[in-house]
């Protein structure tokens, strides 16, 4: 078992290495893309779990692997993910997670992947000892009233809890360090720790809070820290379905991020999240100015050529290829721990945007050509258009007989007349009703007065 773990370790190490650098990474993604294009239906089958896991470090790697195992329909990928998660957990100290993953594996990976009582007991024992030690240390710091030591003590506690998967306790400990911060660096550290834990707990309110706290903390932040904070804020906005704000945050993320925030997010993710959110929420000029002409973000996009391509396709109105790219990406995105919930919404938004943009410059559009461009049937397209027109997102009407879409330019004059008359009628009605009610009140008042004083 020991040997196996070692080989795994090296394998992972190499994957990490190949993903860490720019050019190597490109190659791999392109390769994956080619695989996808060969068999586009089941792109999830070909998900390179190792390469994916290599992008992340710390607990998020385990959590992401488990997530993939839960979501992926393909047993081999699932097993692969679980195996890696198992190995990874063994290197850490979270016995709870160990039990969980063993339960999920359910003996399907052979004798090497069963519940390891010896290991778990040892870890738990060690944890108990460590906890006692930390407690006594912290107490002595507290009696001595040395701020910095107390802070360190709490911090150690936080780290300890975090490593053992007790996120709530870790959160509390990290938050407590805040009271003992003596300089802005400490505050930043506190904030980053809290953000890390909160993201894993899914408490994105805290994330937003602590991002703003960190940003206010000091005048000059390191570029890496700034980038980290932007990412965290972007994630929080994404989670809150504020796609436009999320897109802005991701787009502002500096390239300094590199792979230094791998315990939360990979640079590739910044490109994907930012790109998709921008497509879904930006208008054309914004897309051009803030995404395509954004030199900083271009560096991120280079890491995920598909997203770069699909954004360019979208902007160049090559909707068919754009949508195809999106479709190919979908399986992988659905396995992403942050994006999976939003994939459908974002995709619909992007598709609608594409349809609206397509129709915008024309007075009349042939539905057959348009259906070709969107790789759909005429009747399907008609339905989508109908929904958009009903929503007032496209000002046009469909000639279903000749299958042509005609733009409709609202007649301002007529509309104004109509509105004026309607307003008049409404006003008339409302005022009369109001006078009537006023009179009823008056009557009631008088009646009360009569009753009270007994005269007529």
């Amino acid at each position: 078992m020991e040997g196996e773990e070692d080989t795994m370790g090296t394998a992972r190490g190499s994957a990490m290495w190949s993903n860490g650098g720019g050019p190597g990474d490109d190659e791999e993604v392109v390769e994956a893309e080619q695989q996808k294009q060969q068999r586009p239906i089941a792109s999830g089958d070909h998900m390179d779990v190792e390469a994916y896991a290599g992008l992340y470090s710390g607990r998020t790697r385990i959590v992401r692997l488990m997530f993939i195992a839960d979501r992926c329909g393909n047993p081999s990928t699932q097993m692969e993910a679980l195996r890696m998660a198992y190995d990874e957990i063994k290197e850490g100290e979270d016995t709870q997670l160990h039990r969980e993953v063993v339960k999920k594996i359910d003996g399907r990976l052979g004798p090497g992947y069963e519940l390891d009582h010896v290991w778990a007991d040892a870890v738990d024992r060690r944890a108990e000892q460590r906890k006692e030690k930390l407690e006594s240390e912290l107490n002595s710091y507290k009696t001595n009233l040395i701020k910095e030591s107390i802070r360190m003590g709490y911090n150690d506690f936080g780290d300890f809890h975090y490593a053992h998967g007790m996120l709530g306790d870790a959160f509390k400990s990290y938050v407590r360090t805040r009271d003992y911060c003596t300089n802005s660096k400490h505050i930043i550290q506190t904030c980053l720790n809290v953000i890390l834990v909160s993201i894993e707990m899914g408490q994105f309110m805290h994330v937003t809070n602590y991002v703003s706290k960190a940003e206010q903390a000091s005048e000059v932040l390191e570029p890496v820290t700034v980038a980290k904070l932007k990412c965290a804020a972007g994630l929080a906005h994404l989670e809150a379905k504020k796609y436009k704000l999320a897109a802005r945050k991701f787009l502002e993320t500096g390239i300094e991020l590199g792979n230094q925030y791998s315990e939360v997010i990979a640079a590739q993710d910044v490109a994907t999240y930012g790109g998709l959110c921008a497509l879904a929420s930006f208008d054309r000029t914004e897309l051009k100015n803030k995404v395509i002409d954004n030199i900083n973000f271009r560096n991120f996009l280079e890491l995920v050529p598909e997203v770069r391509e699909l954004i360019h396709d979208f902007y160049a109105s090559r909707y068919a290829t754009c949508l195809e790219y999106l479709e190919n990406l979908k399986e992988t995105l659905l396995l992403d721990i942050h994006l999976h919930d939003h994939v459908e919404t974002l995709y619909t938004l992007i598709r609608h945007k594409a349809i609206i943009q397509y129709t915008h410059p024309f007075i009349s559009v042939d539905l057959h050509t348009m259906a070709d461009a969107f790789k759909t049937s005429v009747s399907g397209l008609e339905k989508e258009l109908e929904a958009l027109i009903t929503d007032n997102q496209i000002q046009a009407r469909i000639d279903s007989h000749n299958k042509i879409l005609y733009a409709r330019h609202a007649d301002q004059r007529n509309a104004t007349f109509q509105r004026v008359l309607q307003t008049g009628v409404d006003f008339d009605k409302d005022v009369k009703a109001m006078l009537l009610r006023a009179n009823l009140f008056k009557h009631e008042h008088n009646a009360k007065a009569t009753r009270k004083f007994g005269f007529i």
């Binding site: 006078l435 009610r437 009823l440 009631e444």
Partner: protein
């Protein structure tokens, strides 16, 4: 005793000229009221001696006394003739001296025509009576609801319109108010003037009330149904409606609220099943007819939505999108809507295509200009009325005393540290 009635008749004949005489006569009649009531059955012969147009006040007292007892079926017809004739010819100034008596006579007319199952006979007399009783057409009388219910019973909805056209602003009795607007709503529904119906029902539903009453609840049920037919969705009650209504109305009209919800889903199956489960309640409320109209309005609404999105569409497609069975049915619906002016379209029967066209109204015709002009005039009169009202209220003593009280209280709080209760 007979003498005294004769004497009274003689008084009436003598004292019906000048206003002073009439005041004198009025006090005389008031004194004799009880004895007249006790002799109700013997009064009929004396009507011949009086002229309803000249001796209206006396005639009214006699008539009221005569009708106060139970009227047997044989006499009913005779009573109706006399009373109708009286209402028709009486002098408005004289009867306004005793409005209670006049109202009670008219209510007897209403009761009698309903008993005789000839509500149509009461319509004209009551309308005349209302006009004579009203000091202005903006005043609601107790006879308004009676008149409307006769119109409803006789199914003479058009006759009801002559009154409903007036803008009622002054109200004496809240009960009359609720009934008037509830019946008014029903008459407008009968004529399919849904917008007007909504106005009426809206008044009944949103009126200030301390507790819910049955009239408001029934009005609210119809309010929901008519909103669905006319507009497709029911707005929530406005803020100014009474808290009693806002809190409780929905609980009393649950089947109707459910109906509105299933209507909002746009699915016929859901709507039908909702109607099926609540059928009995709708039937008991006598609203099943309106509920049926709600169903057919869903078809209309779907077709109307299509006109917003399509220029041409085949009848089959319409049928499919609107969830109708056959193209033929769709054609009927479209045809009817074109006839009613609800959509603008042409049907090409050769290839089964419907072409929707835009509203041809260009707002350029003389009629339109005139219409707009009239609307402006209307709004201007209205704003004058509001100003007059404002002035009237700012001169109202009870309003002023309330404002004054509040102001002093405010001042006290501002300047005196000792709370008021200690003063």
């Amino acid at each position: 005793m007979e003498d005294s009635i004769e004497a009274l008749v003689a008084h009436v004949q003598a004292l019906s000229g000048t206003p002073e005489d009439l005041t004198h006569l009025h006090s005389l009649l008031k004194q004799r009221e009880d004895s007249l009531h006790s002799q109700a059955s013997q009064l009929l012969p004396f009507f011949e001696h009086l002229d309803p147009s000249k001796h209206s006040l006396g005639y009214l007292y006699l008539l009221e006394a005569a009708s106060s007892g139970t009227i047997v079926r044989e006499q009913a017809s005779e009573f109706l003739v006399i009373a109708s004739n009286f209402v028709d010819t009486c002098s408005a100034e004289q009867i306004r001296l005793a409005p209670d008596k006049f109202i009670s006579v008219c209510k007897r007319i209403k009761d009698q025509v309903i008993l005789l199952q000839m509500p149509i006979r009461g319509i004209v007399p009551l309308r005349t009576a209302i006009r004579k009783l009203q000091s202005s057409s903006e005043r609601l009388t107790s006879l308004h609801p009676d008149f409307l219910i006769l119109c409803l019973l006789a199914k003479c909805y058009k006759a009801g319109l002559s009154l409903l056209g007036d803008d009622i602003i002054e109200v004496d009795q809240p009960r009359d108010f609720f009934l008037y607007f509830y019946y008014g709503g029903m008459i407008n529904i009968g004529l399919k003037r849904f917008q007007k119906a909504l106005e009426c029902l809206h008044n009944a539903v949103t009126a200030p009330m301390a507790q819910l009453n049955q009239m408001a609840v029934e009005a609210y049920k119809k309010y929901i149904l008519v909103y669905l037919i006319y507009n497709g969705q029911v707005p929530s009650l406005p803020k100014y409606s009474s808290s009693a209504a806002q809190r409780n109305l929905k609980n009393y009209a649950q089947p109707y609220v459910d109906l509105a919800n299933s209507y909002a889903s746009g699915k016929f199956s859901e709507l039908e099943s909702c109607i099926e489960t609540n059928r009995e309640k709708f039937e008991n409320d006598k609203n099943l007819g309106l509920v049926r109209q709600v169903v057919s309005s869903l078809y209309k609404r779907s077709i109307q939505r299509l006109t917003q999105t399509y220029l041409t569409l085949s009848l089959e497609d319409i049928a499919r999108r609107v969830q109708l069975q056959t193209a033929k049915e769709a054609e009927m619906h479209v045809l009817r809507m074109i006839q009613d002016g609800e959509i603008f379209a042409t049907i090409n029967q050769k290839d089964g295509m419907v072409s929707f066209i835009e509203d041809p109204e260009q707002y350029k015709t003389c009629e339109m200009v005139e219409h707009i002009d009239l609307s402006i005039q209307r709004i201007m009169t209205l704003s004058k009325k509001i100003r007059a009202y404002d002035e009237q209220i700012s001169c109202d003593p009870s309003y002023l005393s309330k404002i004054g009280k509040e102001r002093t209280k405010f001042d006290m709080d501002d300047f005196d540290p000792v709370p008021q209760k200690f003063l």
